[in-house]
């Protein structure tokens, strides 16, 4: 980036002080906007250095503010971090108050060096780095402060405390601290902390795709932490203890909010709005809450009582549920507003299976079903009768869920047919392996082109071999049919699990919202706002089929901005958005000081062995034993990062 006065980011020093602006050397390892909306940025400080964009900032004041933020997460596990960082902050405070002496500077450097080498966690060791940089490269500023006796002017900064795992999680859960709480036997507190950003820990502890684990610092050293399994641990302890958690404190707000859809997004929004005091009613077409978690995820992965328990918690907050109610039929969007709801949050998911181009449009066959409907029938509907041979089309989690469900319902021969190869499968790797252990066969690089049927009953499909060509827009290699490679697979049933889309047929009337070309609701991913002021939307109906945790995050965000809207009629999130834009471009696991950490094997929870488990829908994965859970928590490197940004309003505030 250009127009930078000074940067020490990652230890690469770019010093343009005293140069004419035209002669400035560029900074290539970090990207910061000079302006954002009404904000003007002046400087940035974080774990691996600092960047100065103009001369309005007192860098020593910024370093002090940075240490104050860092102190908030100095846990107390080691004296270097807990005491040392406090002493650094106090010493800088003294210098800024005009009471500093030369020896304070020496002391500060000594402290900084000591903490950098000897703090217990990654966070602690990184804290002194930008401060030591200011001491090295802005020495004159320190000397000036030492000489003066009056207090320096102090400023406020925008800050964010994050970590690679936290930032990777759509709901930004405070992973290092909830792990730390488990480590110190504070399971109830750990769960309370998780619920601040994730109201469904039991569900996510079993089914989350765990974006956090893919960004874990340890992934580059040995193996990422088992964060998902760790989350389940305190949730299961609470469940088996039979204790119902004390309802969180409810604040005072009175307005009525309607939520359409009792899936993860709706539940998250409902819970968080109820916490602030709003009167929430959640409508759902199903006879129970859970949304896709209920109708789409089989119980061997997610037992029904786990869903029921977490829904009870939401109910306990005073949220009302109206089941068997499909909006658009008897109750329309317009009617909800006339019933006195001031805001509607749409969280209807994406639960319509997409049709494959293998039958004449609109024609129906006995034995041809889409994956979503199949899972719905097994999980909440009329059930299914097993046949001999089934072919499941697709490579995603829905396809795997269908195949493993078929095995459990008694189908004798279960084959997945997928048009790409194993490497391109969007399903979780562990799930694919589990399916294979249970006897599911996978036919890679093949795709059905035509359903074969007799008397309206499926007998198989004509298929074609594929090869992989150039990567498509999504980065996966595009499958290309091999001419002349047609072959026939016999099957009594064909389940197509090749994608889902939202059912938006209820969006009609005066209060309708804009819909995208992809058939999703057009909404701001940051706050859930739609084209209608009082209608918000989030989850799969906005993003298309995604994950439970993304839906929860959307529900959390919507609750926050619905509250902001109802209280102030504004949506100002400039600082937060600006920070997000900056963080997005940073590699949070990278740092100039090389990590020196002993290898330590990842613990994974036990499973019921494969041959026996296919006889029932009993949960396959077990919860961590206390011993494995605690050992696993010890692997956390605690890579918190503090980010500090100096900004001002362009209009001169």
């Amino acid at each position: 980036m250009d127009k930078v006065i000074f940067s020490s980011w990652q230890g690469n020093i770019v010093d343009n002080r005293g140069l004419a602006p035209g002669k400035y050397a560029p900074v290539n390892n970090i990207e910061l906007p000079h302006e954002y909306d009404s904000c003007q940025t002046h400087a940035f400080m974080s774990w691996d250095g600092f960047v100065v964009l103009d001369d309005t900032v007192n860098i020593i004041d910024m370093a002090q503010a940075y240490l104050n933020e860092a102190q908030k997460i100095c846990c107390g596990e080691c004296s270097a971090g807990y005491v040392g960082i406090r002493l650094m902050a106090e010493t800088l405070d003294k210098i800024l108050d005009g009471k500093g002496k030369q020896e304070d500077i020496d002391l500060l450097r000594c402290l900084g060096d000591g903490i950098r080498e000897n703090a217990k966690c990654v966070f602690g060791r990184a804290v002194p780095i930008p401060v030591l940089d200011t001491m090295k490269y802005f020495q004159d500023d320190y000397l000036r402060l030492i000489k003066q006796t009056e207090k320096a002017v102090r400023t406020n900064y925008i800050s964010r405390i994050t970590a690679p795992c936290m930032e990777a999680c759509p709901a930004h859960q405070d992973v290092p601290d909830y792990i730390e709480l488990i480590k110190n036997y504070h399971n109830t507190d750990s769960l309370a902390l998780i619920r601040k950003t994730n109201v469904l820990p039991g569900i996510c502890g079993r089914t989350c795709v765990a974006f956090c684990e893919s960004k874990c610092t340890r992934a580059n050293l040995d193996a990422p932490l088992s964060i998902r399994a760790l989350k389940r641990f305190p949730a299961d302890i609470e469940a088996t203890s039979g204790n119902i958690p004390a309802p969180a404190k409810i604040k005072k707000a009175k307005q009525k909010v309607a939520v359409i859809g009792a899936g993860p997004a709706g539940l998250a929004a409902g819970y968080n709005l109820a916490l602030i005091g709003y009167k929430v009613t959640i409508y759902d077409e199903l006879p129970a809450a859970g949304g896709t978690a209920l109708s789409g995820i089989p119980s061997y992965r997610l037992p029904r009582e786990v869903i029921e328990r977490e829904v009870e918690l939401v109910q306990g907050m005073g949220v009302k549920f109206e089941f068997n109610t499909k909006i658009g039929k008897n109750l329309t969007l317009d009617k909800l507003f006339s019933k006195g709801f001031e805001v509607v949050f749409i969280a209807t998911g994406a639960n319509k299976g997409t049709e494959m181009n293998i039958v004449a449009k609109g024609s129906r066959y006995d034995g041809l079903v889409d994956g979503i409907s199949f899972l719905y029938d097994v999980n909440v509907g009329k059930g299914v009768v097993a046949r001999d041979k089934v072919m499941v089309v697709g490579g995603g989690n829905v396809a795997i869920d269908c195949a493993r469900t078929c095995i459990r319902t008694g189908f004798k021969d279960v084959t997945i047919i997928y048009r790409r190869s194993r490497a391109e499968m969007p399903a979780r790797k562990e799930e694919v392996e589990d399916a294979e252990k249970e006897g599911v066969k996978i036919n890679f690089l093949a795709n059905p082109v035509k359903v074969l049927a007799e008397n309206g009953k499926v007998t198989g499909a004509q298929c074609i071999r594929m090869e992989l060509g150039e990567p498509d827009a999504g980065g996966r290699r595009r499958p290309i049919p091999l001419t002349g490679s047609e072959f026939i697979i016999k099957a009594d049933m064909l389940i197509t699990a090749t994608g889902e889309k939202p059912d938006l047929s209820f969006i009609t009337g005066e209060k309708s919202v804009r819909v995208t070309e992809q058939g999703t609701i057009e909404a701001d991913l940051y706050n859930g706002r739609t084209s209608q002021t009082a209608i918000f939307a989030g989850g799969d109906c906005v993003t298309g089929p995604a994950t439970i945790i993304e839906a929860i995050a959307a529900g959390n965000k919507a609750a926050k901005s619905i509250d902001q809207y109802l209280q102030t009629r504004t949506f100002d999130q400039t600082g937060d958005r600006l920070m997000s834009q900056i963080v997005e471009k940073l590699n949070l696991t990278q740092q100039r000081d090389e990590l020196f950490v002993a290898q330590n094997q990842r613990h994974i929870p036990e499973q019921i062995p494969a041959p026996g488990r296919t006889q029932s829908f009993a949960e396959v994965e077990k919860v961590f034993t206390a011993e494995s859970a605690i050992s696993e928590t010890m692997r956390c490197l605690r890579c918190y990062r503090v980010l500090l940004l100096a900004t001002s309003n362009k209009n001169g505030h």
Binding site: K72, I73, C74, C75, G76, E77, C78, S79, A80, Y82, V83, G84, L87, E90, E103, L107, C110, L111, D113, G114, E117, N118, A119, K120, I161, D174, D177, E180, L181, N184, Y185, H186, D189, A192, L193, K196, E594, L595, F596, A598
Partner: protein, 244 residues
């Protein structure tokens, strides 16, 4: 068998020796420790046992008490860098607990006469030995170690005792290096006192020996032992001295 070098001395240790600290002990190389206790899982909170390690052509500062040994590891326990870092670590401990004899003694050994930092006088240095002893050895799980947690609003780390769970066994006072937790028996009462971070005083009734009349152990502790071992309560009617 693991082969490693400590302070230029080639050492072979058996598989039972798992940490650098234990390997150094075998080689009669002394490394200062404070939070380490041989009966407890290593904690690594005091940072005094730090050493420099070279392994797979990388090097770093680690705590000897909990860093695992590996073949080919080269360890330095006495370089200038290590000594200076240790001095800083002990200065930080002194800044918390300047009156502690053990910390003063460690400081003297490391050539530190006083701390340059503003002193915050308290007894507890959050070494966690009491916490580990209560959970790992006693099993009463009465001592709580609470770390700072921003999003739960916990703005201070602390050691606390759950009076309901505490059985008054005194294991915590035995392992506490700075006398932050102390114990005193007065007549038929035992008092367990925690001075910092938060002051706490818990009272226990002591059981009297039916033979000699000595108040010999907290009733709660004896009940706990009966409960965990399934022994009948009567076996504690007599004190150990009068029992045989």
């Amino acid at each position: 068998m693991v082969r490693l070098t400590i302070d230029n001395k080639a050492i072979e240790v058996t598989d039972g020796v798992t940490t650098i600290l234990k390997a150094a002990e075998k080689a009669h190389i002394s490394i200062p420790t404070l939070c380490y206790h041989e009966k407890l899982t290593p904690i690594g909170s005091c940072r005094l046992c730090l050493v420099e390690v070279n392994q797979n052509s990388k090097s770093g500062i680690v705590t000897a008490c909990n860093y695992p040994v590996a073949d080919g590891m080269v360890i330095t326990t006495n370089s200038e860098k290590v000594i200076n870092l240790r001095k800083m670590a002990v200065e930080l401990l002194l800044a918390q607990c300047p009156q502690s004899e053990i910390i003063q003694q460690l400081a003297r050994q490391l050539g530190v006469k006083h701390t340059r930092f503003a002193v915050k006088t308290q007894d507890c240095i959050l070494c966690q030995r009491c916490f580990k002893a209560c959970h790992e050895i006693v099993g009463a799980n009465a001592i709580e170690f609470t770390t700072k947690c921003l999003n739960l609003g916990t703005d201070e780390a602390s050691i606390g005792i759950d009076a309901e769970k505490c059985i008054g066994c005194g294991s915590c006072t035995y392992v506490c290096p700075t006398a932050a937790i102390t114990l005193s028996d007065v007549g038929d009462k035992r008092f367990l006192t925690l001075t910092s971070p938060k002051a706490q005083r818990i009272e226990f009734t002591l059981k009297q020996c039916k033979k000699c009349g000595f108040y010999w152990a907290p009733e709660k502790q004896l009940a706990f032992i009966c409960e965990t071992t399934g022994q009948p309560a009567e076996i504690f009617d007599l004190c150990p001295d009068c029992r045989d």
